[in-house]
């Protein structure tokens, strides 16, 4: 990476601090918060897709488990959301591990197929278990409470979103330049080469899958508590594709690419309000065009262009 980790984090912190003062109204602030939460999931998925090169087309399933898990624990069992969020994340971690462990012994695209199945199953369960999940109508999620203080004000939520996003960026940048990160990127670049230097490929792919599932879950939980209402739409195939598009559009293996991808794809439907219902077509189109004209994604392509000029 051309910029040092420290400078990048400092710049990110500066942008996150200045942003609420620059945004003209609450509508924009609301979008910024949604972007931050989507970016958490995208950064996680980037660890799986961008670092390790494993494609998931069912990550919305983990997002929905995070959202519903934390909402159900909070409303039906009276758990405090701050406890429900890590509990849902732990559930996703275990689930991801159980799915990945046997499948990653096989070669090829079996993990991708399994994620597709996972997304569909979660979606169907959420629709059918009306008693617990509210079925197709969805359910309400209580607001987040921090030390007895319920978050309802947008500005308070912004602080939470900004802090969480910054921390997740920090973790992701740390991972990129670490032995674990190099092993993940190495097995993506040349799997045999990674194996002959001792990388247990199945183990590291499993780790990437678990990390991405946990971040998707946290993103889902926070979104649920923020929006206050969730529906099975969250686990839809279209949503999984949207998450994957964020990573591919922003740039594979680029943390800031994932953030940019999340920002673009979250803003797009707002900008194109008239296209309501056709977003998935748009996302598919963006995915195709990116693969054709920007196969590296936006951020790595720009970094390469700027690097050459220097």
């Amino acid at each position: 990476m051309r910029f040092s980790r420290f400078k990048a984090l400092l710049a990110t912190a500066a942008v996150l601090v200045v942003l609420p003062f620059v945004l003209p109204n609450n509508f924009m602030l609301d979008i910024a918060i949604r972007i931050a939460f989507a970016a958490v999931a995208a950064i996680g998925l980037n660890v799986l897709m961008g670092f390790a090169g494993q494609i998931s087309i069912g990550h919305a399933g983990f997002l929905a488990i995070g959202a519903y898990g934390s909402a159900i624990a909070a409303t039906r069992f009276g758990w405090p959301p701050l406890l429900a969020i890590p509990a849902a994340a732990a559930l996703c971690a275990v689930l991801a591990w159980v799915i990945a462990k046997p499948i990653l012994r096989l070669k090829g695209h079996s993990l991708t197929m399994a994620t597709l199945g996972l997304g569909l199953i979660v979606n169907i369960v959420l629709i059918n278990e009306v008693g617990v999940t509210g079925g197709p109508d969805g359910m309400a999620a209580p607001p987040l409470e921090v030390a007895g203080f319920a978050l309802v004000d947008l500005r308070h939520w912004y602080v939470v979103a900004a802090v969480v996003l910054w921390l997740v960026i920090l973790l992701s940048l740390n991972l990129y330049d670490s032995p674990c990160g190099r092993a993940l990127r190495g097995l993506h670049g040349a799997e045999v080469a990674a194996r002959v230097v001792g990388v247990d490929v199945a183990l590291f792919k499993t780790r990437a899958f678990v990390m991405s599932a946990v971040l998707a879950s946290v993103s889902g939980s926070l979104t649920a508590h923020y929006v206050g209402f969730i529906s099975p739409q969250m686990a839809s195939f279209a949503h999984s594709v949207e998450l994957a598009t964020m990573v591919v559009l922003g740039g594979m293996a680029s943390t800031f690419g994932a953030v940019l991808g999340a920002a673009l794809l979250t803003m797009l439907p707002q900008l194109l309000g008239g296209l309501h219902g056709y977003e998935s077509i748009l996302f598919g189109l963006i995915l195709m065009l990116t693969m054709m004209f920007l196969p590296r994604g936006i951020v790595p392509t720009l970094a390469l262009k700027l690097g050459r000029k220097r």
């Binding site: 973790l171 740390n174 330049d177 040349a190 194996r195 002959v196 247990d200």
Partner: protein, 249 residues
Amino acid sequence: MLAVESLTRTFGGVAAVSDVSFSVRKGHVHAVIGPNGAGKTTLFNLISGVYTPSAGTVKLDGEDIGGHAPDQLARKGMSRTFQNLQVCMNMTALENVMLGAHLRCRSGILGSLLGLTRRADAALREASIAAMDFVGVGAWRDAHATQLSFGVLKRLEIARALQAGPRLLLLDEPAAGLNDSETHEMTALIRRIAEDGVTVLLVEHDMKMVMSISDHIVVMDQGRKLAEGDAAAVRKNPDVIAAYLGAEE
């Protein structure tokens, strides 16, 4: 140190390697030669765990390692390079070499996420730069792997393999695709590696190189071992002359 006994591998009835036996002595440079299709690379893939043997055994220090996964073999001190380069093109040259030291790193999730490996990484960086200097590609330390030429990548692979700290280094056609002067440098590099106490087993086409650096040569033809011995003995062997040397001259 390494003992190959009646090793056989068949692909759909065709025996690519058939009943091959030889042993590798610690500290020596060993070579496997033979015409195209003789089964050299298959033999290499069997020893390094990329393929599973159909029959026969591979023993490393007396322990049967046939069918062990490559990452397990790396733990036992075996590392290798590839004829068709296997360099991570999504990483920088230096990162590729640092990846070689994977087994010596704390590669747990938490330490990596929290940045606890940073200090160890700085030391690893220095060691990896030293390894790049050792193989003669230190000038490209900041380059991205995609920017490097074939000759540089070949040596980068060796630097990566050395960073794994192997006792036994397998080189798959280290001189293939190199011009005369590059081959000369590669020969000198392999000598230096052997002098550092790493046992080398290589597969090679370039006879001049093989003859000049090998302590022991195994000649293969059509999946079988044709002859073995030191350079002088192999050169005189009538079977070898008929099958390989003679055919070339």
